[in-house]
């Protein structure tokens, strides 16, 4: 059961990794690369707390094998803003109080980011539909939806 050599771009940085076939993307991110923003919740792809962007698509990293990803681009919550400037969604989540325990927040923000990237001004219904991909057990979603809505009203649609 040999190791596999994988080329991966994580948060803009290209890297070569030797991974075991059974290693999940979440394990690679957390245990090898110390990117602990993505959280392990259910571990079975149901809750969405491990969501990262895989080639721009929100993906549950706990049920993806790193071996599948040769040549892929991964964005984690650490790669979204930088130390001086946060992503508008991160600002908005703080402003609106859309964070309580914070465990679901990285996944929530990345799911919302991918929605706004493909549709800068979604309707409230579209936001609700997209955000229902991720489980939150404390805020009750109202503030999360409001936080996404606030950003969408400020972002201009892409031509």
């Amino acid at each position: 059961m040999g190791q596999l050599e994988i080329t991966l771009q994580v948060n803009g940085e290209s890297m070569k990794l030797d991974v075991k076939p059974a290693e999940t993307l979440l394990e690679t991110l957390r245990d090898r690369l110390d990117l602990t923003g993505a959280k392990e919740g259910c571990g079975l792809g149901a809750c969405g707390s491990c969501t990262v962007l895989l080639n721009g698509v929100p993906t549950r990293s706990c049920i993806v094998l790193t071996a599948e990803l040769d040549g892929a681009e991964v964005t984690t919550i650490e790669g979204l803003g930088d130390e001086t400037r946060l992503d508008p969604l991160q600002e908005s989540f703080m402003e609106k109080g859309a964070v309580q325990c914070g465990f679901c927040t990285p996944g929530m923000i990345l799911t919302a980011r991918s929605l706004l990237n493909r549709n800068a001004q979604p309707t409230r219904q579209e936001i609700i539909r997209t955000m229902s991909s991720n489980l939150c057990r404390c805020t009750g979603y109202k503030k999360i939806v409001e936080a996404v809505e606030a950003v969408s009203s400020r972002e201009t649609p892409k031509p």
């Binding site: 596999l4 999940t24 993906t59 040769d70």
Partner: protein, 314 residues
């Protein structure tokens, strides 16, 4: 964590994939989106010697208008399919079932072929190895009897594809490619009616396509679940109607979708159709909802769905 060890391969075409399967002497599984397979591997329900990833085989992802048929590649993503104009215009029951499948993020990963070939589910089966060992293995794990219905010698796991019932109402056919070449059959013929081994699959076969007769239909899909997203169906009812005849299919209350013709006028004959389904469906206490309730909801959901769909009929 996936406790078992396996080899990983990513063939570039179907022939190579089948060849690899034979090379590993059948001790291999095909991987598409992985939203069913990887959780099963994590729970120790699958321990393959090799995982053969089909995602590099691009022809498997296409949706094609072939004149009399619409051909959907086995690896077409649920999210792409539900936005396809052909699907929306001709097969509204399928559009609705795709929309009801899990949640957006998982629709972007999961494929239609994987959705159809997802294994049947049970509260006493989809558990960690530690949990299952403590309880004692059930029939589906090679044990002596069922854990959901103590003492039973039949498995009662539910087949939880949302899209299978919709595809059955549309008279879908499926195409496999395997070591012996191509095999094409009605989707309904895929099911063995045995929950512990739900599919009539031959070793090494890949579900390469789903074929739908290109005929304009009206229809819909109605799903019972506790939460409005992500959850598997606790009951799924699909209905399609075209040229004076309709088909009803009921899923997630047994090892296969139960499919019946609904004579015209559909609204008057739905009771009769549901009776036929109720003779076969056998919900037991192996989900988070009471089996009697799920059984009662079959007629309620079927009547509501057929009424709604037929209101749109000319």
């Amino acid at each position: 964590m996936i406790a078992s060890r396996f080899e990983y391969r990513n063939p570039q075409d179907i022939d190579e994939a089948v060849r690899l399967y034979l090379e590993f002497q059948g001790d291999a599984v095909y991987l598409s989106g992985g939203t069913d397979l990887v959780p099963r591997m994590k729970l120790g329900l699958e321990k393959p010697g090799a995982v053969i990833d089909l995602k590099r085989i691009l022809p498997l992802t296409t949706i094609e208008d072939q004149g009399d048929w619409v051909r959907i590649g086995g690896l077409a993503r649920i999210f792409d399919l539900k936005q396809n104009e052909l699907i929306k215009n001709f097969f509204p029951a399928l559009e609705a079932s795709l929309e009801a499948t899990s949640c957006e993020s998982l629709q972007m990963r999961g494929t239609i072929g994987g959705n159809l070939l997802q294994n049947s589910r049970c509260l006493f089966y989809n558990q960690s190895e530690f949990w299952r060992r403590s309880k004692g293995f059930c029939l589906k794990m090679g044990g002596e009897s069922c854990n959901a219905v103590p003492g039973a010698k039949t498995c009662f796991a539910n087949y939880c594809s949302d899209n299978a019932p919709a595809l059955c109402t549309l008279s879908a056919e499926i195409e496999f490619t395997g070591p012996d070449g191509l095999r094409r059959l009605n989707l309904e013929a895929l099911y063995t009616n045995k929950a512990d081994k739900p599919f009539d699959l031959r070793p090494g076969e890949i579900l390469t396509a789903i074929l739908l007769p290109k005929k304009k239909t009206i229809g819909g899909y109605k799903k019972l679940r506790v939460r409005g997203a992500i959850d598997y169906p606790l009951l799924g009812v699909a209905f399609s109607f075209a040229n004076g005849s309709g088909k009803l299919a009921v899923g997630a209350v047994g090892p296969k979708p139960y499919v019946v013709e609904v004579k015209q006028p559909a609204r008057d004959n739905i009771g009769e159709a549901v009776k036929t389904v109720l003779k076969q469906a056998r919900p037991v206490g192996n989900t988070v909802l009471d089996p009697d309730y799920r059984k009662r909801m079959i007629s309620v959901f079927a009547a509501r769905l057929v009424n709604k769909v037929m209101k749109g009929a000319k």
